[in-house]
Every structure is written in structure tokens, then in C-alpha cells.
Amino acid sequence: MSYKGTREAFAAALMELCEKDKKYQIISADSVKAARIVELVEKYPECYVEVGIAEQCAVDVAAGLATVGKVPFVATYCGFITMRACEQVRTFVAYPGLNVKFVGFNAGMLGGEREGVTHQFYEDIGILRSIPDITIVCPSDDTQTYQATKAIANVNGPCYMRIGNNREPRVFTEDVPEFELGKIRILNDYGNDVAIFTYGFLTDRAIKAAEILKKIGIGVTLVEVHTIRPLDVMGISVVLRKCGKAITYEDHNINGALGSAVSEIIAEGCPAKLIRIGLNEFPGSGTPDDLMKRYNMDTDDIVKAARALCEKK
């Protein structure tokens, strides 16, 4: 199956879950339209809870539902979950280990693109990585979002899935690879010159970069890290040892997310040279292509980083 984008894929998976079991609940902070669940709400009103534009309340309500055995999904913009309602996520869901799922839209600079900083979220993973016990998944396209939604529904505990604005490029066009929670996925193994670790809605750019690098004689092992927690430390370590040079490439602040996680693995016993590509400032509004160029996060920037690591001018 394919969907128009990640939000529709999430909605389709949730629809199937609700069809099977009414324990699944969708908590809306006036986010029904944004979550593409208008049809779900009409079909299964007994699975829908509306609280209005009140994200802290949405998380609290979800926590209350979970204590009685429901499996609530709180779906709204990434930052409103992880920043505005951060304390509720930490204290009333993660700390008691309640079975609540968070689905954040507009992940990264690309997620918010022309909306600008208020609706672009590149801090969410860093924030959640500092809170114990939350599973964190970052699918790369619609098909994977569908699989990831089902995967987090099967986890008995708090989970966060970051998705986009429903306009993401399709990454996996043919056979959709199985989404195995907590495991890295090698997308290309063109050689041991440099490893590229990536996830999310710029994975297509990383794939292009790997192809370009292959043509100029730099063999890339391209790794998709769609689960940030539990992190596949073993899998990442194997690739780091094999390549000795690595790039992390993510639509997130370079501090706190994959760039930091890989740095930690390197520092704790897996020496490698590393270049982190990501944000380190507040960007702004723009089209995806313009933003990627302006903030040095485009395909060319990966190529440049790989050349620098391999000392190829």
C-alpha cells in the first residue's frame, strides 16, 4: 500500500487498529484535520477524544485513559507534544510507564518548511532522549509510517513517532522493507570508505549522495536509523568499526539526536572520525529545496563531507 504522505499512512494504520480493538483511542488537541482522521472519527466516535487546543491536557487525559487500560494516541505537532507538554510526557506518562503513544507532525525543518520556526521542530528527539523509557521512532516515508504505527502499538509502554507534513518524498518505492523496531537497516553497502547514518524525510537525499559518491570512487555504507530508542548500538558499532569514518545526517539540531547518539558510541569505545550534518541555528520559512541548500544540508553537503573525511578534494 502507498499513501499520500506520512499523516495519511498513520491515519490508515490507526483506523485498522481501532477497527480491531476499541481500546485504541485518538486524543485530539483540535488536530483531527491535521492528523487526517476525519473519517476515523466519523466511523469510530467511541475511539475519539477531543480536548481542544490544549496539549498539556491532551497528554494528561491520555495518561488517565491509559491507567484504565486504554491505548491512547496523542497526535499533534511535534513541538506541542515534546515542548509545550514536555513535563506531562515525562512525569505522567514516562515516569509511571503508561502505555501512551505520541505522534508528532511537522518533524524537522522540512516538516514545517514554509510555516517557519514556530511550526518546524528539530529539538524533539534531543528532548525525549533525555527522558528515560520512551521508545522513539522516525520513519522515512509513508509506507514506513504505516508499519511504524503498528509497531509502536505493539509496544507496552510510552512511544513517540515523528512524522511529517504529508508531503514527504517516497523513499521505499518497490519492496517495502520490514520495519524492525530497534534495528538499523543498511540501505546501501557500496563500500567501507565512509558510513552515513540517517533517518526521516531526507533519507532520499542521502541515497542520492551515496550514488554520487560511488561514482567518484567513495564507497558508502548507508544506514537508516529509524529507531533512536532503543538504539541499535551493536549494529551502529559494527558499521563504525568497518568504516572508521562517519557522517550523521538528520533534520534535527545536531545536538541531542542521532549526531549525539553516534558521538556517544564513538567516544565510549568505537573510535571513528565523524561529521554531523544538521541544524545548529534557527532557520526560517522556505521551500524544502531552498532550505536544504541555505542551511548546508543538501545532497552536495553530504558529498562534500564524505570527500573531506576521505581527504579527496
Binding site: 476499541k22 483511542q25 467511541e46 477524544v49 477531543e50 480536548v51 481542544g52 490544549a54 498539556q56 491536557c57 494528561d60 487525559v61 491520555a62 495518561a63 488517565g64 485513559l65 491509559a66 491507567t67 484504565v68 487500560g69 486504554k70 491512547p72 513535563e87 506531562q88 512525569t91 505522567f92 515516569y95 509511571p96 510507564g97
Partner: protein, 275 residues
């Protein structure tokens, strides 16, 4: 349902002493806020709530959230008296590896339905519990106790809206209106008064009572249960530190540890005096 008021008054005195005793022995805690809600907690745990220490996770039980989580010593005392755990654990309050955390923790303490302590969240969490009850066609109630200072928190009012939006008729919220918050009188700190009018404006079923008068407490609960289609709030006029002369309406006891002499005075006033 035990509505023998003389008996409940005696239980409340014993619980209040347990609060002073555990704070004295563990050398930390919030006695004033705990004593303030002593009668509400006694009415709920020893009369009103359908709960069972032998089956603490019974699905159809009533739920309780102490939104003002710092008052937890009184809940710990009630749970111990009801045999959820041994009375011997009370002095371990706030110590490393104790099941009795500084603020309630549902994972560590049997009988606690919801983790709490960060102020403002009980109404919204209770709303979630009550929606779950509706969806399961249960007949149980969710009780929440909030502070008055706690009403400063915005999420209280988010929850107040959501509870009405979702017709949370089995949600009953008590406000411990002792007119004190951490930094002083509520009038000086936050201007939250008049409290009842605000809840009326949010379209809750609102009652105002003396939170130390059992007849009024039970009458208000009965009336709240009769009200259909909307949540109920009971604004309870209380005295912070109630029952211990030197703590009453004295905000110095928001948090504090009694000396041995003060502990002896409290013991005499709560257990040794006339009923």
C-alpha cells in the same frame, strides 16, 4: 458505606497524627497541606470510595488522584490503616528505596491510582479516567483533590474545559480551599478568589462547603452524584494544618519538621485530648 461520623472523626485524628509522626521521624515532608485535607481523605477512603486493599487493582473500583501531591503523607497514612501496606513503612517516607516517595508514585505504592506532585494535572488526568469509564460503561467515580494555589496552573483550566466537553459526570473534584499556598495567602500571591465563580463560568456543577464537616462533605458528594451530564466541583473551606494548634493557618508548616516537643504537643492534641 460507613457514615458514623464520630468514628470517622476518630480515624481522621489518628491519620493526622500519623502525618506528624512520619514527617517527624523521616525528617521531611509537608504536614500543613496534608492536615488540611484530613477530613476529605477520611470521608473518601473510609466511607465513600469503593476500594479494596485485598484487591487494589479491582477494575470497577473508584479512582483517586491527589493532584496536590505534596499532601501525600495523609494518603500514605490512610492506605496503611486500610492495610494496603504495613504501618511500619510510614517513617520511611522520602527515604531512598522507600515505596513512599516524596510525591505519590503509582508504580511504587500499592493503592495509588496515579502519579502526582507536579501541580495542576489532576483534573485533566481525572478527565481521562472518567472518559475511560464512560467507554467501558462502568459505574465508578473518579475523585480528585486539588489545592487552591494549584488553580493558578493553566492546565487546570484546560482540564476544566475538557471535562465539560466530554460530559464527565462521574468526575468529582474537591478544592482544598485553605487560602494558603507555598509563598503565602492565595489573595496575596495569585488572586485566585473567588474560586467558585470561576468554575461556574466553566459550567461545572459547583458546591461550597466546610471541608472539615462530614455531614456537609457527604451531602455534597450525594448531590454531585445526582448531577448528570456534567462534572462536579466541591469547594471545601479548610484550615491548613488543621488539628495541630501551632500549625493551623500557619504557612510556616507548608513544609517543616516538628521538634520532639512539637511532636509531643501534636500527639496530645490529636490522640490525647477530648474528641
Amino acid at each position: 458505606m460507613n457514615r458514623n461520623i464520630q468514628e470517622l472523626i476518630k480515624i481522621a485524628r489518628e491519620l493526622r497524627f500519623d502525618v506528624v509522626d512520619m514527617v517527624y521521624k523521616s525528617k521531611d515532608g509537608h504536614p500543613g497541606p496534608a492536615l488540611s485535607i484530613g477530613d476529605l481523605v477520611t470521608a473518601l477512603y473510609f466511607s465513600e470510595m469503593n476500594i479494596d486493599s485485598k484487591n487494589p487493582k479491582k477494575p470497577g473500583r473508584d479512582r483517586f488522584i491527589l493532584s496536590k501531591g505534596h499532601a501525600c503523607p495523609i494518603i500514605y497514612a490512610a492506605l496503611a490503616k486500610l492495610n494496603y501496606f504495613s504501618n511500619d513503612l510510614l517513617p520511611t517516607l522520602r527515604t531512598c528505596d522507600s515505596i513512599l516517595q516524596g510525591h505519590p508514585c503509582m508504580k511504587k505504592t500499592v493503592g495509588i491510582d496515579m502519579t502526582s506532585g507536579s501541580l495542576g494535572n489532576g483534573v485533566a488526568i481525572g478527565t481521562g479516567m472518567e472518559i475511560a469509564r464512560q467507554r467501558d460503561n462502568g459505574s465508578w467515580y473518579t475523585y480528585v483533590i486539588t489545592g487552591d494555589g494549584e488553580l493558578n496552573e493553566g492546565v487546570i483550566w484546560e482540564g476544566a474545559l475538557a471535562a465539560v466537553r466530554n460530559k464527565c459526570e462521574n468526575l468529582i473534584v474537591f478544592i482544598d480551599f485553605n487560602n494558603n499556598q507555598s509563598g503565602g495567602h492565595t489573595d496575596q500571591i495569585s488572586g485566585i478568589n473567588p474560586i467558585a465563580d470561576k468554575w461556574r463560568a466553566f459550567r461545572w456543577h459547583v458546591q461550597e462547603i466546610d471541608g472539615h464537616d462530614y455531614e456537609q462533605i457527604f451531602a455534597a458528594i450525594d448531590a454531585a452524584k445526582k448531577e448528570k451530564g456534567k462534572p462536579s466541583v466541591i469547594v471545601c473551606k479548610t484550615i491548613k494544618g488543621k488539628g495541630v494548634s501551632y500549625m493551623e493557618d500557619n504557612n510556616a508548616w507548608h513544609k517543616g519538621v516538628p521538634t520532639t516537643e512539637q511532636w509531643e504537643i501534636a500527639k496530645k492534641e490529636l490522640l490525647g485530648g477530648n474528641m
